[in-house]
C-alpha cells in the first residue's frame, strides 16, 4: 500500500470521524445521533487500523455497535422525540438541516399552522430556511421558557421578555392522539448560538495550533507487531494484570449499580408511552409443526408480566 493511498485512507477516516461527530451534535433525531456517533467511531477504528493496531480497531467497532445500540435504546425510552419527527419542522441552521435531511416533519392538523418568525438578531453564521409568512400568535412564554430551560440544548441567558419577540407558537396537530407539544416552541435558533460557535472555533484553533507547533515529533523505525492479538494478550497477562482484574472488578460494580438502579422499574409515566409496549406475547406457533398444542388458550407461564396489552395487533 503506497504512501499516497495511506494518506487518502487517513483523510477518509478522519473525515468520517469528524463528520460523524458533527452529525451527532446537530441532527434532530436521537436515533440518528447515536448512529452518527457509531459512524464516527468507525472512522476512529479506521485510524487505528492505519496504525496497524487491527485488534484495537475492530474492538472499537465491536464495542460501539453493541454500546451505541443499547444507548440508543435508552435514549429512545426517555426522550420525547427520539425520531426527530417533531423537531424536523422547526427552525434550524443549515448544518442541522443537512444532517436532519430525510426526516419528515410531523404534519399539523389544521391548515393554518403557524410559520416561524425569526429572531431579530441575524448573525452571519445562521443561514436557515426562511418561512413564508409571519403569523405571530400569543406566546405562552412561561411554559415555553420552562420547556426550553429543561431542554438544555443551548444555554439560556435571556429573560422571558427578550424571547417573546423572537419566538412563536407552533401548533401541533391535536387530531392525532400522539404527542401534543402543548404549545411550546423548540426553535434551535437562539441568540447565544453565534457566541458559542465563535468560542468553539477559537478553542479548536488553539488546540490545533498546540498540536502543530509541538517542538519535535519522534520518528522511530520499528514496525508494529503484526500479530497484535498475541502481543496484547501477553501484555494483559504480564504487565497489566492488575489493570485486567481491576477492570473486571469495575465491571462488577457497574452491574451492581445497574441492577440496583433499575429496580423498581422507572419508566416514565407519560400517557402516550403507556399506549404501546414492545411486548412479547406468546409467539405464534409455526403452522403444523407437529408439536402438541399447549394446554389452555393463551395463558402465559413464563416469567414476564403484561402490563399493557397492545390495542390490536393488525391494522390501522
Amino acid at each position: 500500500m503506497t504512501a499516497g493511498l495511506e494518506i487518502i485512507a487517513f483523510a477518509i477516516c478522519a473525515f468520517i470521524a469528524i463528520t460523524g461527530a458533527l452529525g451527532m451534535t446537530t441532527t434532530m433525531s436521537m436515533f440518528r445521533s447515536g448512529i452518527f456517533l457509531m459512524a464516527s467511531f468507525v472512522g476512529v477504528a479506521g485510524l487505528f487500523i492505519l496504525l496497524a493496531a487491527d485488534l484495537i480497531g475492530v474492538l472499537q467497532i465491536m464495542m460501539y455497535i453493541g454500546g451505541m445500540l443499547v444507548m440508543i435504546l435508552f435514549m429512545v425510552l426517555v426522550m420525547h422525540d427520539p425520531g426527530g419527527a417533531m423537531m424536523a419542522g422547526m427552525d434550524m441552521s443549515f448544518v442541522e438541516r443537512w444532517f436532519s435531511k430525510g426526516l419528515v416533519p410531523r404534519e399539523p392538523a389544521q391548515s393554518g399552522h403557524a410559520k416561524h418568525m425569526h429572531g431579530d438578531h441575524q448573525r452571519g453564521y445562521n443561514d436557515h430556511h426562511h418561512g413564508n409568512a409571519v403569523q405571530p400568535d400569543e406566546p405562552n412564554d412561561r411554559k415555553a421558557a420552562a420547556m426550553r430551560s429543561g431542554h438544555g440544548a443551548h444555554p439560556m441567558e435571556h429573560t422571558d421578555d427578550d424571547e417573546q419577540e423572537g419566538q412563536v407558537m407552533h401548533h401541533s396537530g391535536d387530531k392525532h392522539d400522539d404527542m401534543d407539544m402543548g404549545g411550546m416552541d423548540m426553535s434551535m435558533d437562539t441568540p447565544v448560538r453565534p457566541i458559542a460557535v465563535w468560542l468553539a472555533a477559537a478553542v479548536s484553533v488553539v488546540l490545533v495550533s498546540m498540536l502543530l507547533l509541538r517542538p519535535a515529533w519522534r520518528i522511530i523505525d520499528a514496525a508494529p507487531d503484526p500479530d497484535s492479538a498475541r502481543s496484547i494478550g501477553h501484555l494483559l497477562m504480564e504487565k497489566y494484570m492488575v489493570a485486567f482484574e481491576g477492570a473486571g472488578f469495575l465491571i462488577l460494580i457497574g452491574i451492581f449499580g445497574a441492577v440496583l438502579l433499575a429496580r423498581p422499574s422507572t419508566h416514565p409515566d407519560d400517557p402516550s408511552r403507556s399506549a404501546k409496549v414492545a411486548i412479547d406475547e406468546r409467539p405464534e406457533p409455526i403452522a403444523d409443526d407437529g408439536l402438541t398444542p399447549l394446554a389452555g388458550a393463551r395463558g402465559s407461564t413464563e416469567h414476564h408480566m403484561h402490563r399493557h396489552h397492545r390495542p390490536e395487533e393488525h391494522g390501522a
Partner: protein, 297 residues
C-alpha cells in the same frame, strides 16, 4: 486483488442462493420457511413518515456486513479472501452489522410493526453476542490464534466438536439466534407482519433476502470452520468438504430449531442469560483445564 474481491461477492451470492434452496427443501410442507423467503420482491414501497436516510441504509449495511464477513472464510487451502490476523474476531464483529442494518431499517420505517421489530432485534443482539463469543473463545483457546486458517490447521488431528461438545451445542443455539431462524423468530413474527420485511419492497427486499440467507450461510460456514474442521477431509477436494459440512450443519441447525416451539423474546433473553452464559463460562473453564492437561492440539 480486485478479482479476489469480486470472487468473494460472487461466493456470497451463490452461497445465499444455495441457502435459500436448502431452506426451502428442508422445511416440510406446511411449515413456513425462514424469514429470507418471505420478502416481496415485486413491488416497491414508499412509506410516508419514514426516515429517508435510515430506512434504505438498513439492507445496505446488512449486505455489507455479510460480504465483509465472507472475506476471511477459508473454502480451501488457498481459497480465502484474505487471512486476516484477527480473522475470527473480525467475523464476529462484522456479522453484527447485520443486526445494525435490521435495527436501522426497523426504526427508519416508522410503522408500529417495524419499530417493534427493531426492539426485538436489539433484544436478540443482547441475547446472542455473549454466549456466541464464549463459544468462539473455547475454540480460540485450543487453536492459539484468531486466524481462521490457523483454526483449520489446529483441527488436523481431531475436530473441536469432539473436544468441546458444550461449545458446539452453545454454537448451535446462538447461531440460530444470530440468523433469526426458528425458534428465535420473534423479530420476523407474523404477529408483527413480518417486521422489517413487511416494510421493504423491490430492491431492499431483494437485498434483505440475500443478507438474511447470507447470515445463515455464514453462521453454518463458521460453525463448520470452528467445530467441524473446515475445508479438510479425505478423498474430495477441500472446498467440496467445506460446502458439504456447511450445508449439513445448516440442515442440522434448521431441523433442531424446528423441534422446539418458538421462543418469545423474554424467554429467549432468559434462556441466554440464565442458561447459556453460565454454560459458556463453564465451557471456557473446562477447555482451559483440558489444555492445561495437555489434551488437544
Amino acid at each position: 486483488m480486485i478479482a479476489t474481491a469480486a470472487l468473494v461477492l460472487v461466493a456470497l451470492v451463490l452461497g445465499a442462493a444455495l441457502t435459500l434452496l436448502v431452506e426451502r427443501l428442508s422445511t416440510p410442507h406446511h411449515v413456513e420457511p425462514g424469514p429470507a423467503q418471505a420478502a416481496d420482491v415485486r413491488h416497491s414501497l414508499v412509506i410516508a413518515n419514514s426516515d429517508r436516510w435510515l430506512l434504505p441504509a438498513g439492507p445496505v449495511v446488512a449486505l455489507t456486513g455479510v460480504a465483509l464477513a465472507l472475506v476471511v472464510l477459508p473454502f480451501g487451502p488457498g481459497l480465502i479472501g484474505r487471512d486476516l490476523g484477527i480473522g475470527v474476531f473480525y467475523v464476529i464483529v462484522v456479522i453484527d452489522f447485520v443486526v445494525l442494518g435490521l435495527a436501522l431499517a426497523g426504526w427508519g420505517a416508522n410503522t408500529a410493526h417495524a419499530v417493534e421489530a427493531c426492539y426485538r432485534i436489539i433484544a436478540q443482539l443482547v441475547a446472542y453476542v455473549v454466549p456466541l463469543g464464549l463459544a468462539y473463545v473455547g475454540v480460540i483457546m485450543m487453536a492459539r490464534s484468531l486466524s481462521t486458517v490457523a483454526i483449520v490447521e489446529a483441527q488436523s488431528g481431531l475436530w473441536f466438536v469432539v473436544l468441546q461438545p458444550i461449545g458446539f451445542v452453545l454454537y448451535l443455539v446462538t447461531g440460530l439466534m444470530q440468523s433469526y431462524r426458528a425458534p428465535f423468530l420473534e423479530p420476523f413474527a407474523a404477529s408483527i407482519g413480518g417486521g422489517v420485511l413487511d416494510v421493504s419492497a423491490g430492491w431492499s427486499a431483494l437485498l434483505w433476502r440475500i443478507a438474511l440467507a447470507g447470515v445463515l450461510f455464514l453462521v453454518a460456514a463458521i460453525g463448520a470452520l470452528l467445530y467441524l474442521g473446515g475445508a479438510t477431509g479425505p478423498l474430495l477436494p477441500g472446498w467440496a468438504w467445506m460446502i458439504i459440512k456447511t450445508y449439513a450443519l445448516m440442515a442440522l441447525m434448521l431441523w433442531l430449531g424446528r423441534l422446539v416451539r418458538p421462543f418469545s423474546t423474554a424467554q429467549m433473553l432468559a434462556l441466554s442469560w440464565k442458561l447459556l452464559i453460565p454454560l459458556g463460562l463453564l465451557n471456557v473453564l473446562l477447555v482451559g483445564g483440558l489444555i492445561l492437561l495437555g489434551v488437544g492440539p
